[in-house]
């Protein structure tokens, strides 16, 4: 097989899966949507965690902020919030398809912009911390923002808020969202693939390998770190906006800012697949999601233990993850060619003769 047909087959195959999987398994459309969402989680976590060496446990903040921002925009556009509160029991957030789509689109865009701005502001401060200090600070941030959201009446405080109802005229919500999430995976994957091929990619790798050295060489380290986080935040903001609408009900701790589920899953998935690799987060997320859903269905009561076992086996025996292992073992699969020669040793020999 020539080297040109391989990617075509790979991408073509994935495209076919993206199109036909939700059609073939209509009962699993929500699960498929969540699976693609997990891929976006892992891909965006890997920007900092894998490529830049900054382990963030607070990326979930952008997911939740994007979710609330999108839903708030949708509400502001078409509903009177006062009326909503008075007759909330009977109130039905029905919209025509064009209004629904416009509200969703505008909401996601505004959500993404807010997340980018937030990541810039937070990052300019927090990204000055390194190592454990950065990790623990982001963990605190994730938990704190969740609690904070529970106190804001405008977004329904602790009792949450509803997203507009998916218009029945638009057909199956499951199909709509599984395609939408798939498009998001494709968009984030290719954006990151391109990004890692630019100077930016090398700069964040350099920060991962030795930040002091990068500083000593004059790299704008804080600038690169902040931009990396804003890119993460951009895709997570959109993801949040979509997920809030798919779920229909937004609640601060379990849906919008679930640090101990989605927040930890994004780390575990990237590690499982192989952090710092292009396909690792994709593979890790899909595997993790399938294992998680299988254990939830067939081994209910043991599901957390099963996930714990995966994480332990992963970090004890398999630290580089699946793709990391393969890259080590079969570097030529990944286009890494090494010309072995002993030029230095030859010179040394000459010098001693």
């Amino acid at each position: 097989m020539s080297s040109n047909t391989k990617p075509v087959l790979l991408y073509g195959g994935i495209l076919l899966i993206g199109i036909f999987l939700p059609l073939a398994l209509p009962a699993f459309q929500t699960q498929i949507s969540v699976m693609w969402m997990m891929v976006t989680f892992a891909l965006t976590w890997d920007i900092l965690g894998g490529r830049m060496g900054y382990n963030s446990f607070g990326n979930i903040v952008f997911f939740g902020v994007g979710m609330y921002a999108a839903a708030s925009v949708q509400h502001e556009l078409y509903f009177d919030i006062g009326q909503f509160e008075v007759i909330s029991d009977q109130f039905n957030l029905q919209l025509t398809p064009d209004k629904y789509l416009f509200g969703l689109g505008l909401g996601m865009i505004i959500g993404a912009v807010i997340c980018v701005a937030l990541a810039w502001v937070l990052g300019s401060g927090i990204l000055r911390l390194r190592g454990h200090y950065f990790a623990i600070c982001t963990l605190g941030l994730g938990v704190a923002v969740g609690e904070l959201a529970g106190t804001i009446d405008y977004i329904g405080a602790g009792s949450g808020m509803a997203a507009p109802v998916f218009p029945s005229a638009m057909g199956s919500a499951g199909l709509f969202y599984s395609y939408f999430f798939f498009i998001l995976v494709v968009a984030s994957f290719f954006s990151l693939k391109w990004l890692y091929s630019t100077r930016f990619g090398l700069a964040i790798n350099a920060i991962r390998d030795d930040e002091d050295k990068a500083e000593a060489m004059g790299v704008h380290t804080l600038r690169h770190k902040t931009v990396a986080w804003t890119i993460s935040a951009f895709f997570l903001g959109i993801t949040g906006g979509l997920f809030g609408n798919m779920t229909g009900f937004i609640e601060p701790l379990e849906v919008a800012f679930p640090t101990i589920t989605f927040g930890i899953f994004m780390v575990a998935m990237a590690l499982l697949g192989g952090k710092g690799t292009l396909w690792g987060p994709v593979l890790g997320a899909i595997l993790f999601h399938i294992i998680k859903e299988t254990t939830w269905t067939y081994f209910l009561g043991w599901q957390w233990i099963a996930l714990g076992v995966i994480i332990i086996v992963n970090v004890v025996f398999f630290q580089q993850g699946i793709m990391g292992y393969l890259e080590d073992k079969y570097p030529h699969w990944f286009g890494v060619e090494v010309e072995e020669s002993n030029a230095i040793d030859d010179q040394a020999k000459e010098a001693t003769q």
Partner: protein, 247 residues
């Protein structure tokens, strides 16, 4: 002869330990200046102060007449004043060419430049410089897999890639196979003459520093002990005493 670096009355203490006390020295442009002294005499401390790695307690440090003692590491590096580390630092998980490309100067980097690819001439330059230090055949290996001596050479090549005006080298020959030292000496000379880079070198190997430098400063106990040509320094009784422990 103009001086590209002017250090004047610089003091630096760590708690009660005085690492540098009112040190003054000048690095003339286009030359090779050596800095010697027994272990713990404050050489690396002075380097750290010059490149902005730590704030100084008092004194002034000027680069091309501009006061830099209040600037941070990255700003100073972007001015064209670069250092290598005593404990060699390279990007271990990246290959040789990548190590070189990321070392391109960020002096005039605009914000959006980070999203550009590397042009072919930069890759050529990277490979050319790897060839210059004798690492061309190893360019696709992870830098972390190179031997210590090779990593030193890579770090030197990375510094050249940055097109600095002044290069501060902290013990460039430490840990290098003695048979390779002559090759490295030759390359240091060529970096000075062919690329026009002013060198300021900390070195313990007396044979190396006497061959390399035009003028040498000697520190002892954080203070400037002597300054002169290699011949003068070699015959200075105070320097000999300092190295033999008479101080």
């Amino acid at each position: 002869m103009t001086n590209i670096i002017e250090v004047e009355g610089v003091s630096k203490s760590y708690g009660g330990v005085v690492a540098n006390h009112k040190v003054s020295m000048e690095v003339p442009v286009g030359r090779i200046t050596g800095l010697i002294g027994p272990n713990g005499s404050g050489k690396t401390t002075l380097f750290n102060s010059v490149v902005g790695y730590q704030p100084i307690d008092e004194g002034s440090i000027k680069f091309k007449g501009q006061e830099i003692s209040k600037m941070n590491v990255q700003q100073i590096a972007r001015l064209g004043l670069l250092r290598t580390f005593q404990q060699t630092r390279i990007y271990g998980n990246m290959n040789g060419v990548q190590n070189m490309l990321i070392s391109v100067s960020h002096r005039n980097a605009a914000f959006l430049d980070m999203f550009k690819p590397y042009p072919a001439e930069m890759k050529d330059k990277a490979e050319h410089l790897l060839e210059f230090v004798g690492l061309y055949q190893k360019r696709k290996l992870s830098a972390g897999d190179l031997s210590f001596g090779q990593q030193k050479l890579l770090e030197f090549a990375m510094a050249l890639m940055n097109d600095p005006e002044v290069l501060l080298l902290d013990e460039p020959t430490a840990g290098i196979n003695p048979t390779l030292i002559n090759g490295l000496l030759d390359r240091l000379h060529r970096a000075n003459t062919e690329f026009g880079i002013t060198l300021f070198v900390i070195e313990h190997n007396m044979r190396v520093v006497m061959n390399l430098a035009d003028n040498i400063y000697c520190l002892a106990h954080g203070e400037l002990l002597a300054h002169g040509t290699p011949d003068e320094i070699q015959n200075d009784q105070r320097v000999i005493d300092a190295y033999l422990g008479a101080h």
